[in-house]
C-alpha cells in the first residue's frame, strides 16, 4: 500500500515534468512510473493476444470501422519488436501517430489522446517496456486502408481530429479534477470508445463521451448532468473503475478488459480523480421514446418476471455488486441496444478483480427466446425501469443475432 502511494505521488510529478533523458534499466522511479502509465493507458490490452504468455508481443486483431488491423509487437525484441527504436521514435509513435518511417499510424493507436502525456511520461513507459521479456513475434501490420493511405487526406484528418500537445491544467479547477482530466483525456483515452465518431473515424468533439458502439458492444454515454451517469455518485464511478462493480452496474465485454488490465490497477486516488472529472462532464438528457406497444411490453414483462427477476429482482433493482440495477446501468438505456441484446442473446461474464473477485456471469437466452420475444424483453427492460429508452424491433434482434453468430470476439 505504501508503495502505491509513493508511486501516485511520483505520477503527479511526472505528469508535469519536462523532457528528460532516456531512463536506464536501473532507474526504478522511471520504470515504476512507466509501468503505472502503461496500465493506465491500457497498452497491454491491444498489444497482447488474450491469454498469451507473452505480454506486449502484439498480434491481436483490432476491429475498426475500416477493417481489422493487427497490433504490433512492442516488446524490446530488436528485430520484431521495438528494441532498436530510439526514444524519439517511440515518442513520435505514441504522441504523434508517426511510424518509424514517417508514415501514419491508424488512430486505432489512440495517439490523439496519448499526445496529452508529457515527453517524460512516454519516456518512462518506454523504460518500463524495456524491462519486459523480449518476445520474438513478427507481426505483419496491414497497409492502412483508405483514407489513411493517402497523404493529403491525412493532413486533412490531422487538421480535423488531431490536436497535438500536452495536457494543460485548468487552474480554476482542483488538482483532483485536473488529474482526472489528464487521465481521461490522455493515457486513459476514454473517448476512444465512448465518444461518437465521424465517418472518417475521428472523434465528434462536440459529443465528447456521449456514447459509441464498437465490436458489438455499446460504450455508453458516460456524461453526468442529465446524462447516463447523472444519478451515479462519485463513489459509484470510482468503485466501478476500481472493482468493475458497484450498486448499479457490472463491467463486461470490452469494459471488463479495461477494468481488468487498466483501471483496477490504478490507485484509489486516481480512479476518484477520474470520477470527479467525469461527474463534471455534463451531457444532455436522452430523447424520450414514443410509448411502445402495450402488448409487446406485456410479453416482455412476462418473460422478465419468469426468467430475469430471480437475479435482477422484480423491480429491476438487482443486488449491489452482483446483479446490475437495470434502471441505472448505462448500457441498458443506451440509444443503441447492442449490449442489451448481446448479453441477452449470448450471456456475458463480468470482470473479476482483487476487490470483487466474484465476476458473476449472465446466462444466455438466445437459444430459448425467439427474436420477437427478445425484442419484447429488451423493450420492456429499456422502457419500464425508468429511462424510457427506444423500443427494440424484432428485426434489430435478428440482425444482432446473425452478427453475433459470426463474431469471434
Amino acid at each position: 500500500m505504501r508503495k502505491v502511494r509513493v508511486i501516485a505521488a511520483l505520477i503527479a510529478v511526472g505528469a508535469s515534468a519536462g523532457p528528460g533523458h532516456g531512463a536506464g534499466p536501473q532507474d526504478f522511479t522511471s520504470i515504476e512510473h512507466g509501468r503505472y502509465l502503461a496500465n493506465a493507458a491500457d497498452c497491454g490490452s491491444c498489444h497482447t493476444v488474450p491469454g498469451s504468455d507473452h505480454p506486449f508481443s502484439g498480434g491481436r486483431p483490432i476491429e475498426t470501422p475500416f477493417g481489422t488491423l493487427v497490433s504490433p509487437n512492442i516488446t524490446p525484441d530488436r528485430e520484431t519488436g521495438i528494441g532498436d527504436w530510439s526514444d524519439d521514435e517511440f515518442d513520435a509513435a505514441v504522441r504523434h501517430g508517426r511510424r518509424r518511417d514517417g508514415a501514419r499510424l491508424y488512430p486505432a493507436m489512440p495517439f490523439p489522446y496519448y499526445t496529452r502525456m508529457s515527453r517524460q511520461d512516454v519516456t518512462d513507459i518506454r523504460a518500463y517496456l524495456d524491462t519486459i521479456e523480449p518476445a520474438r513475434n513478427a507481426v505483419r501490420v496491414k497497409r492502412l486502408p483508405f483514407p489513411f493511405n493517402v497523404r493529403a487526406a491525412m493532413t486533412a484528418w490531422d487538421a480535423l481530429y488531431f490536436k497535438p500537445g500536452e495536457y494543460r491544467s485548468d487552474v480554476s479547477k482542483s488538482a483532483e479534477w485536473n488529474r482526472g482530466a489528464y487521465l481521461v483525456q490522455g493515457p486513459g483515452h476514454c473517448g476512444a470508445c465512448h465518444t461518437p465518431k465521424t465517418w472518417l473515424g475521428g472523434d465528434k468533439a462536440s459529443d465528447s463521451l456521449r456514447g459509441y458502439t464498437l465490436q458489438g458492444w455499446v460504450a455508453p454515454d458516460i456524461t453526468s448532468g442529465q446524462g447516463a451517469l447523472g444519478s451515479w455518485s462519485t463513489d459509484d464511478v470510482a468503485s466501478y473503475l476500481r472493482t468493475g462493480h458497484n450498486r448499479n452496474a457490472a463491467a463486461a465485454g470490452l469494459m471488463a478488459e479495461v477494468v481488468d488490465l487498466s483501471t483496477s490497477k490504478m490507485t484509489d486516488d486516481d480512479v476518484k480523480a477520474i470520477a470527479i472529472y467525469l461527474k463534471e462532464v455534463s451531457g444532455p438528457a436522452a430523447e424520450a421514446a414514443a410509448s411502445s406497444d402495450k402488448n409487446v411490453l406485456a410479453a416482455g414483462k412476462a418473460v422478465y418476471q419468469d426468467l430475469c427477476s430471480s437475479c435482477h429482482t422484480p423491480d429491476g433493482k438487482g443486488v449491489p455488486n452482483l446483479f446490475p440495477n437495470l434502471s441505472e446501468a448505462a448500457t441498458v438505456s443506451a440509444k443503441d441496444p447492442a449490449t442489451v441484446l448481446r448479453v441477452i442473446l449470448q450471456g456475458a461474464q463480468s470482470v473479476a478483480t482483487d476487490r470483487e473477485p466474484t465476476g458473476p456471469a449472465m446466462p444466455a437466452f438466445g437459444w430459448q427466446l425467439n427474436d420477437a420475444q427478445i425484442a419484447a424483453l429488451a423493450t420492456f427492460v429499456r422502457m419500464d425501469f425508468g429511462h424510457k429508452a427506444q423500443a427494440v424491433s424484432e428485426s434489430e434482434v435478428h440482425k444482432t443475432r446473425s452478427a453475433l453468430a459470426v463474431r469471434t470476439n
Binding site: D293, A299, D306, L307, P314, G347, A352, Q373
Partner: protein, 243 residues
C-alpha cells in the same frame, strides 16, 4: 449452435452425460467462461415417432390413458403427450442405458442389490408391447390391446401388475413398473421433453414450473399461489401480439 453442441456431447461416448467441457483442460487465472450455454436443453418437438412403430405408439397411448385417465378438468396421459415423452426418452440415452454400468457378469442378486439385467429400456418396451398384443390376441379373439374396452384394458394391466400374466423374454411386472415410472414422468416433467402438453400436469396440482423466485410468497402462509406455470419453453404470455 445447440445441435452441434449436442452432437459433440453425444460423440464423446462415456463423457456423454457431463455438462460443460468434455475435454481435459487446464484452468487457471480466472473462472472459465464462454458465450452461450454449455449445456442448453434439447427441445423435443411434436412430430413423427422416433422409437415406436405406429402400432406400438397406439398401444402406449392407450396404456397412458389407463394409468392417467382423462377427467373433465384434466386430459389423460395420451393427450398430455406421455407417449411422445416415452418415445423420445427411449430414443435417447435412457433407452440405451447410456452412462450406466453395463459390464458383466450380469448375475441376479437380491432386491437390495438393485437391478442387474443387461436389458435396456428400449428392449423392455419393444418386447413388452409385443407380448402385450400377443396376450390380448390370445385372450380376446385376436384383438389388440387398443381394441379392448377401457375396463378390459384395466383388467389386463391389473393382471400384469399382479404377476398373473407372464411374458416371454421379458419380465411382465418389470415392464409394468417401467410404465408406472415413465408415464407419470411424462405427465409431470417439463413440456420440453415431449409430455405434460400445455403444462396440464402442473396445472392440475398447482405446480408453477420453472419459476425461480418465490420471495413474494414465502411469507404468505396458507394462501394459494396465484400465478400460472412456466415451462423452459415459456408460456402463452411470452408471445408478443403486437396491436
Amino acid at each position: 449452435m445447440m445441435h452441434r453442441r449436442h452432437f459433440l456431447i453425444y460423440a464423446a461416448l462415456w463423457f456423454a452425460g457431463t455438462t460443460s467441457l468434455t475435454r481435459a483442460s487446464i484452468i487457471r487465472d480466472r473462472m472459465p467462461w464462454a458465450p452461450y450455454p454449455s449445456s442448453a436443453p434439447r427441445f423435443e418437438r411434436p412430430g413423427p415417432w422416433q422409437f415406436f412403430t405406429a402400432d406400438e405408439a397406439s398401444a402406449i397411448e392407450a396404456i397412458a390413458d389407463r394409468i392417467i385417465p382423462p377427467d373433465p378438468q384434466t386430459p389423460g396421459g395420451k393427450d398430455a403427450g406421455c407417449a411422445v415423452f416415452i418415445d423420445r426418452q427411449l430414443k435417447g440415452p435412457y433407452g440405451s442405458r447410456a452412462g450406466l454400468y453395463n459390464l458383466g457378469p450380469h448375475v441376479k442378486g437380491t432386491k437390495e442389490q438393485g437391478a442387474q439385467s443387461a436389458q435396456t429400456p428400449a428392449e423392455l418396451y419393444r418386447k413388452g408391447l409385443a407380448n402385450l398384443d400377443r396376450h390380448c390376441a390370445t385372450s380376446f379373439d385376436g384383438k389388440k390391446f387398443t381394441q379392448l374396452s377401457a375396463d378390459q384394458q384395466d383388467d389386463v394391466l391389473k393382471k400384469i401388475e399382479a404377476g398373473e400374466i407372464k411374458f416371454h423374454g421379458v419380465d411382465a411386472q418389470g415392464f409394468f413398473d417401467a410404465l408406472l415410472k415413465d408415464v407419470p414422468e411424462g405427465f409431470f416433467s417439463d413440456p420440453i421433453h415431449g409430455g405434460n402438453h400445455n403444462m396440464v400436469g402442473w396445472s392440475m396440482i398447482g405446480f408453477p414450473g420453472i419459476r425461480y423466485d418465490y420471495r413474494d410468497w414465502v411469507h404468505r402462509h396458507n394462501e394459494r399461489y396465484p400465478y400460472p406455470p412456466v415451462s423452459i419453453a415459456g408460456r402463452a404470455d411470452w408471445i408478443p401480439h403486437p396491436t
